[in-house]
Assembly symmetry: D2
Homo-oligomer: 341 residues x 4
Amino acid sequence: MKIGILTSGGDCPGLNAVVRGAVLKGITVHGHEFVGFRDGWRGVVQGDVIDISRTMVRGIAKQGGTILGTSRTNPFDNGGGPEVIEAHLVRLGIDAIIAIGGEGTLAAANRLTDVGLKIVGVPKTVDNDLDATDYTFGFDTAVQIATEAIDRLRTTGESHHRCMVVEVMGRHVGWIALHAGMAAGAHAILIPEQKVSVEQIAQWVTQANARGRAPLVVVAEGFVPEHLESPHSPRGLDTFGRPRLGGIADKLAQELETRTTIETRATTLGYIQRGGVPSAFDRVLATRLGMAAIDAVVEDSWGTMVALRGTEILRVSFEEALGQLKSVPQERYDEAAVLFG
Amino acid sequence: MKIGILTSGGDCPGLNAVVRGAVLKGITVHGHEFVGFRDGWRGVVQGDVIDISRTMVRGIAKQGGTILGTSRTNPFDNGGGPEVIEAHLVRLGIDAIIAIGGEGTLAAANRLTDVGLKIVGVPKTVDNDLDATDYTFGFDTAVQIATEAIDRLRTTGESHHRCMVVEVMGRHVGWIALHAGMAAGAHAILIPEQKVSVEQIAQWVTQANARGRAPLVVVAEGFVPEHLESPHSPRGLDTFGRPRLGGIADKLAQELETRTTIETRATTLGYIQRGGVPSAFDRVLATRLGMAAIDAVVEDSWGTMVALRGTEILRVSFEEALGQLKSVPQERYDEAAVLFG
Amino acid sequence: MKIGILTSGGDCPGLNAVVRGAVLKGITVHGHEFVGFRDGWRGVVQGDVIDISRTMVRGIAKQGGTILGTSRTNPFDNGGGPEVIEAHLVRLGIDAIIAIGGEGTLAAANRLTDVGLKIVGVPKTVDNDLDATDYTFGFDTAVQIATEAIDRLRTTGESHHRCMVVEVMGRHVGWIALHAGMAAGAHAILIPEQKVSVEQIAQWVTQANARGRAPLVVVAEGFVPEHLESPHSPRGLDTFGRPRLGGIADKLAQELETRTTIETRATTLGYIQRGGVPSAFDRVLATRLGMAAIDAVVEDSWGTMVALRGTEILRVSFEEALGQLKSVPQERYDEAAVLFG
Amino acid sequence: MKIGILTSGGDCPGLNAVVRGAVLKGITVHGHEFVGFRDGWRGVVQGDVIDISRTMVRGIAKQGGTILGTSRTNPFDNGGGPEVIEAHLVRLGIDAIIAIGGEGTLAAANRLTDVGLKIVGVPKTVDNDLDATDYTFGFDTAVQIATEAIDRLRTTGESHHRCMVVEVMGRHVGWIALHAGMAAGAHAILIPEQKVSVEQIAQWVTQANARGRAPLVVVAEGFVPEHLESPHSPRGLDTFGRPRLGGIADKLAQELETRTTIETRATTLGYIQRGGVPSAFDRVLATRLGMAAIDAVVEDSWGTMVALRGTEILRVSFEEALGQLKSVPQERYDEAAVLFG
C-alpha cells in the first residue's frame, strides 16, 4: 500500500512528528510505502510528490516546520478538483491520503471523501480551535514560548514600573492568551470570545499598579475592545491584500497609557510562537496522532480524523470535526479572571 | 474561614502554582484567610505555621519547589495523630486543610477525614502514577527536561558512534520514560511494567546501530531486566538507609557494551528533572487545581481530591483516588515500541 | 563604610548580579553597609533609599531587571545637582556611590566626581556600545534570546518558502544584529554603521532564495537603508513624544516583497531581548564587575569605571570610557558578510 | 585548492559552526574545495573522506556534535604516521589540513607540520584548558547548561532543606565549576587546582545552612579532597579499562552528610554538558575561528593555531599553544570564594 501525506496551512510545531509517527508505523508494522505531497494541496493538485524513506524521517520529530513544505492552496481551486486529483493518484499509484491540516483542509478532505477519495485527517491548529479534540499539537509549544517571553517582559515592567501589553496568537479564539496569561499571572487576559471595555481593562491595570505590581495585559490578536472600532480596519491588510498579524497590542497600549497615565509598552510575539523545536508534549501527541492515522488507513476509516480525548486517541468523522469552533467557555474565562486586577 | 495548606513528599514543579491558585481564589472571591503548614505534615503535627498573604504568593507560579517547605513526615507518627492535629487546628483557628501530596499524603488524609477532620486533597506525583487523574502537575515539566537532556545526548552519541543509556525518574511506573523516549525517538524504552531481557535490548541496540544510528536507550529507574538481579539490591541503600536514586543505567550500559561491543555511555538525570521553572502546562494545571480545591472547601467536599479528566477539573473521593497505581498500559507501550530497534 | 548603589537607564540582564557581587564582597570582606537608591538617579536626587541586607541579595543573580528599580532621571535636572545630592549623602551617612548605568549615567557621574563626589561606575548597555570594555553584561543574554527566536523563525520561513525579516535591538550600533545574525546564519545583516541599499538587500534575498533557502534578514532597529527616508520620521514618536522601538522591519519587509515577489514577513523582537534570566556568561561578568567596583571603592579610585579586557577586569577613567561609541568595525562586518546572499 | 577538515577528540558544541565558517569562507571567497576526514585522525590515517558541499553545511551551526564524526585515534598509531598520511593526501589531491582538536591533536599536528605537512589548527576543549586562547568554543555552552541544571537543583534543595552536590566537567582544570558556581551562587566551588579539606567544605556547608540556605556545592570531576584518597582509584576504570566520568560527587555527598548531618544529595551532570545546540556565543566564536583558519591557510601559516584574545582572532604557533594547561589562577578562585559559606 502506498500512502501520500500532506501538510497544509500555517506551519505548526509537531507537523514533522506526525509524519515520523505515520511513516515509521506504516513501514515497520505494515510495510507501507510513502510519498509526500509538496507544499500541501498544491502538491496534490499538481501531482508533485517526493518519496519518503525511513532515513528521511530520522530525527525530524524535534524539528519545527514541515519537511514537506506547506501552502494555503485549496484543492478545488488552482486547476484542482476530484478528477484531477484522482488522476494523479492513479498515475502515482497512491492508495490513500493522510491530510494534516486545519478546518479548511478538513472541509476540503470531507468534500473529496464524499466523491470517493480515501482520506484520513490529522487535526492541526496552533490556536487549538477545533472542537472535536481536547488539544491539537503545536498549541502547547505556542503557549510555552509565549509564557517564557512574558516571564521575560515582567522583569522589564517591574524594573521600570511599566504596564506591559503582550499580543499572542488567536484570531478567533483565545486559548493561547488564556493559558499563557494564567501561567504568567496576567492582570488582564483579553480574548475574542469576551467583550471587555477599555474602561474595564484600565481599571484592572490601575488596581494592579496600586498594589505595587507592574501590570501585565495578555491580549489575543483577534480581541476587539467594546466601543472601539476593529483594530484590523485601518491597518488590517498589507500591500498584498492579506490580513496582517498584530495590531491590537499597539493600539491598546496607547489607550491604556492615556487613561491610566502609567507608562505602557506593547510587544507582539508574532511568528516566534509557531516555529522551532516542539515541546515534548506536542512531540508525543503528534507522534501518536500520526500512528493512529495509519490505524485508520489500515481499517478503511475514510472520512475520519484522529483526535485526542483525555489520554486516548479516537476517531471522529469529518462532519463532527467541522461542527463548530472550540471557543473558550465562560467558566474557563471566569476561572482565569480570579487573577485579574 | 481560615484554611491551612501543606505540601508533602518529594518536591514537584507546580506546587507553588497550586498554592497561588488556592490563595488568590480564596482571598479574592471568598475573603478566606490562609496559613501554610511548614514542611508538610511536620508542620501539621507540630502546629508550625506561617501566614500566607496575597503578597507572599506574588510571582511564585514560575518558581520550582515549594515556598512552604516539604518533608516525608507521616501525620500519624512523630507524636502526631488526629487528637494532636485537631488540638492545633482549634488553637490556630484553622477550619480546613488543603493537602497537596502523593499517595501517602492522600492515604493519611483519608484516615484523618474518617475521624472528622476537614481535608481536601490535591494530587502530586512527578511520576504521574495516580489513577484517578489524567495527568498530575510536574510530570509535563519532568518529561520536557528529560527530553531536552536526551536531545543533547544524541548529538554526542552520533558524533562518537556510541550507544547512550539515559536513566529517568519512575520507580514504579514508566510514564516519564515512555513520553521522553517517544519525544526523543528512543530505540528502546525500558519501564518497570514491562519485563524485557538484556538480550532483547542488545538486539534493539544492534539493529539501530546497523542502520547507522547512535542507539538511544531510555530507562526508568525502577526497571529490572529479566534474568538480572535487581540493581537496587547491592547499592540500593545509602549510608542513611534510604533508597538511592539511580543505578540501572550504569549497570545496563556495561551489559550492553559487553554484548554488543558498541561503546556505551550511561547518564542518570536525577534531581534536575524535578526542580526549577515549571512548564506552562504544569502552571495552568496546578493553578486550576488550586482554585478547584477552594471550590471543594466552599462546598464542604471533605475527603475528596481534585483531578483532571480531559480538560475538566473534577472531584474524586480519596478511596477512589487510592484505588491503584496508574501504570503504563500495554497498548501505550506497544505504540512506543514501533520506534524501537 | 556605607555605600549607595544605583541602577540607571533601561533595564538589562545582569543588573542584580552586579548588586549581589558588590554587596556580598563589601559585607563579607570589608564589613561595608549598603543602601540602594530607588529608581536610579531619582533616588539620589530625592534621597530615597532602601537598606540592602545580605538576605535581600539572596538568589537575585538569576533574576532579570533590577531589584532597585530604574528610571531615566538625570541627576542635574529634577531639582538635583551636586549640592542637593551631597546634602542627602551627608544626611544618610553614605560615603560612596556605585553607579551602574550607560553613557548618560557615566557622563553625569563624571561631572559629579569633578565636584568632589565619590563615585565608581559599572558600565551597562545591552547594545554593547561602550568603547572602553570588551563586552558589557546583558549583551550576551540579548544575543542568545535573539538567536533562539531567529532559530524558531527559520523553520516557519522554510516551511512556507518565505523571507523572514527580524528586527533586533541596536539604535546606534549593530552588535546584537551582527552576533545573532552570524549565530543564526543570516543571509543579510543590516546595521546602523553600514549603508546598504534596498537593491543590495533584495539581491541577497534573491540569491538565497535561488539556492533553495528561506532568506533570513536580521536588521538592527537603527538601520536606515540608503535612498530611503528614516523609518523613524513618520512613526518615530508615540503619543508621549518618546522614540518608538521598532519600525524598520515592517517597512523593509514590504519593500523586499515588492521587489523580489518573495512572500516576506516581519518580526520585531522588542522588549523580550532585555528581560528575564541572564545567561551564565552575563551573570559571571556582572558578578565580577560588582566585586571589582568594591575594590575600586576601597582603593579610592573615584571617577573610574570597571571594565572587561580579555578575561581581566580593569579600571578606566570616566573620560576614557566616554571617548566614543564602540561601533562594529569594518572587518567584523566583512567577516559576517561572507555568509550573505 | 582542496582542504581537508577533521574534528578530533571528545565532541564539543560549536564543532559544526567551525566547519561551516571555514567551508563558506573558502568556497565563497577563494573558490576552495573541501573534504571532511571521517572520525578525526582515523579518517586521515585511512584516507577516509567525504566531500563537503555548500549544501552540506546548511544550518549546521546550531547542531551539536560534529557532522564529520570524531574519534580518539592518534595519527602516529594505528598504521599512521607522516608517510602514510602524505600518500593519502597526494592520492586525494588534498593541499592542506584544518585540524580541529584539543591538546593531543595540536601536539600531533605539530609533529606532522615539522615533517612538512601543511596544517592549521583550531583549538577545541570544553574544559577551556588551553593557555593560548582566552576562551574555546563549547565552554560557554557547557557553563550555561550546568548553570541551568544547578538553578533547577536549588529549588529542590531549598524545599527539602538539603545540601546539593553537583559534579561538572573538568578533569584537570576547574573553569566550568568556577563559572557555573559563580553564576548559580555556589556556597563552595571545588576544583583540581585547589586543595581543600573535607573539613573546610563541611564548614562552608554548615555556615550556609545556618543562614537558612540550602547549601550548594559545585565540584569539578577532577577535584581530590585533601586527606582523602583519589575517588578515581576504586571505581576509576570501567570494564574496558577506560577512565570513568564522575564519582567525586557521590563520595563527597556521603562524607558531607556524615559530618554535617544535613541531608545531602549528589548529581553528576555528565554528557548533557557537551551535547546539543551551542550557545550564540559559541556559534559566533566557532564561526570566526573557522573563517580565520581559512585566512591562515591562504597565508601559508602552517603550524599555527587560531585563537581568541579579547575580541580579536589571532594566530599562535603550535609550540606556544602547547606550552601549558590554562588552570584557574589563585585570584580568580579567591574572587569566587567571596560567595562561599
